[in-house]
Amino acid sequence: MSVLSCMNVSKLFQDNGFEALRSISISIGEGESVGIVGESGSGKSTLGSIIGGLDKPTDGTVFYHGTDISSLKGGAFRQFRRSVQYIFQDPKGAMNPYFTLRRVLIEPLRINFPGIGKTELENRVEEMVGKVGLPASILDAHPYEVSGGEAQRIAIARTLLPEPEVIIADECVSSLDLSIQAEVINLLRHARTETGASFLFISHDLDLVRYFCDRVYVMLHGRIVECLDCRHMEEEAASEYTKMLLEDAYGKD
């Protein structure tokens, strides 16, 4: 059974009447990495925030292990929230600027693991910071004092700490330069092997999605155009739009 899925999800923004998603159904299997690719405005991020429960669809249902997430209450809902974690494009924007990075990391842990003592949580934080390749001394810094690459590592640490089942990464490397992009992607790949977490990897970079994912959904104007196996993209691509994306990424031939 899929960990996370959605059925016929639509999203209409009431204020301007914009239909961002039109009857979308996707699924993410256990340990599977699923990509969503499409250009700006195609609805990728809206889908990402609805399937992770950050936003509500106007129509359709999101399922977590087969249960409608709108029916989850109390402990079950908290379990869902802990199990689905996000990494965003702008890591610093997702951190409280007044907090030290230590507090940025520890705060969500205290909420997710109320039974665990402070020292134990601090140990976990320091260990995780080491795992994402940063020195423990960085924990005393504030978000604005670190580089974009370092901030994205901290964001990844925060994502991994609650031991999630699914990680939704929304354009998580698109504002980083190539060498730092490579470091962050390698880090995510290792985390995936180590934890077995599923990924929903949202990006406009087709080659990166193909590198990172098992399957990819191609989106255009709020619809899924097609779903392809990343190992056989060229052979399977049927729609003109996907062919155009492939051509943009790899040139004609």
């Binding site: 250009e39 700006s40 405005g41 494009q89 390749g133 580089s147 974009g148 690459g149 354009e171 698109s174 504002s175 980083l176 330069d177 190539l178 060498s179 730092i180 992009q181 490579a182 470091e183 992607i185 390698n186 790949r189 406009h204 970079d205 087709l206 080659d207 990166l208 193909r210 590198y211 990343c230 190992r231 155009m244 994306l245 943009d248 990424a249 790899y250």
Partner: protein
């Protein structure tokens, strides 16, 4: 060719660290020059030094900047703006945030122009704006002028920013990371737009970017920046076909890697050592360099490979 803009041994630092460490570069009239390098190397700060938009805690400690033969650093604030802003157009990195949300495209484009040209009427300015938008390939310019920023796509905001920068008859267009965070289809369009601008009579461009594909498609000359100074410079083909510095080589290798191999980790450059002393005469790239020698830790000077090709490396 006549020199339009020059930086001479510019040093800048914040309260704790050196940021620019002897930055020297120049842009000739009509020429398109690119500065490449990774985040944190000081690319954006060098633009900030020119336009007087450095963060509050950053100050220039030594060196000079000259524009059209006149010293730039001797005046600040309003005086600098009055002197430069009608001759230099600037497209900032984050074009979404640089458009005031409560002003229409027309207001954004005409306000600054009317400020620089007090005798021009709103109507004349608006006609000029409409003409510019059409010349940048925007159909239906009249409608676009009446829109607010939130009604524009990312690519359109880029174009509006470029058009706004071109409202005056400028000598130099400065653009900070014009293609980062755009998706590939729109990136191609913006690339084509800059390529057409780079051929414009009398317009020089200084483009800061880590997108080497973009730089290759538009630049006449390229500076490679590392830890606050230039470590290699040359004509575009000298840099792309014949790079000498190990850092330049690595950057070009990373950017030309076409398809990532699923079976392996992505190639990394090695981590940027944040603790490196930028003002030291030693090579700042040393901790990450694959082919370092003992002398690199002491000092390293510039070597000329041709009239235009210069490298700061012992190799």
């Amino acid at each position: 060719m006549a020199e339009l803009l020059s930086f001479r041994s510019l040093y800048a630092s914040d309260e704790r660290h050196a940021i620019l460490a002897g930055l020297t570069l120049h842009v000739d009239r009509g020429e398109t020059v690119a500065i490449v390098g990774e985040s944190g190397c000081g690319k954006t700060m060098s633009i900030g030094a020119l336009l007087d938009i450095l963060p509050d805690d950053v100050s220039i400690t030594a060196g000079s900047i000259a524009f059209d033969g006149e010293d730039v650093l001797s005046c600040r604030g309003k005086e600098r703006k009055a002197r430069l802003y009608s001759r230099i157009g600037f497209v900032p990195q984050n074009t979404s945030d640089s458009l005031y949300p409560l002003m229409t495209v027309s207001e954004v484009m005409t306000d600054a122009y009317m400020h620089n040209h007090p005798d021009a009427g709103r109507r004349q300015a608006r006609e000029r704006a409409a003409m510019l938008l059409s010349s940048l390939g925007i159909e239906d310019a009249g409608r676009v002028l009446s829109l607010y920023p939130f009604q524009l796509s990312g690519g359109m905001k880029q174009r509006i920013n470029i058009a706004a920068a071109l409202m005056d008859d400028i000598d130099l267009l400065v653009a900070d990371e014009p293609t980062s965070a755009l998706d590939i289809h729109i990136r191609r369009q913006i690339e084509a737009l800059y390529a057409s601008l780079s051929g414009r009579e009398g317009l020089a461009m200084l483009v800061v970017s880590h997108d080497l594909g973009f730089v290759h498609s538009i630049a006449d000359r390229v500076y490679v920046m590392y830890a606050g100074r230039i470590i290699e410079e040359g004509m575009r083909d000298e840099i792309f076909s014949d790079p000498v510095h190990p850092y330049t080589k690595a950057l070009i290798e990373l950017s030309t890697m076409k398809t990532r191999d699923r079976a392996h980790d992505l190639p990394e450059l090695g981590r940027l050592a944040s603790a490196v002393d930028r003002e030291s005469p030693a090579c700042a790239f040393l901790p990450r360099c694959c082919c370092r020698r003992e002398s690199c830790a002491v000092s390293v000077g510039y070597a000329c490979l041709s009239d235009t090709h210069l490298v700061r490396c012992v190799l």
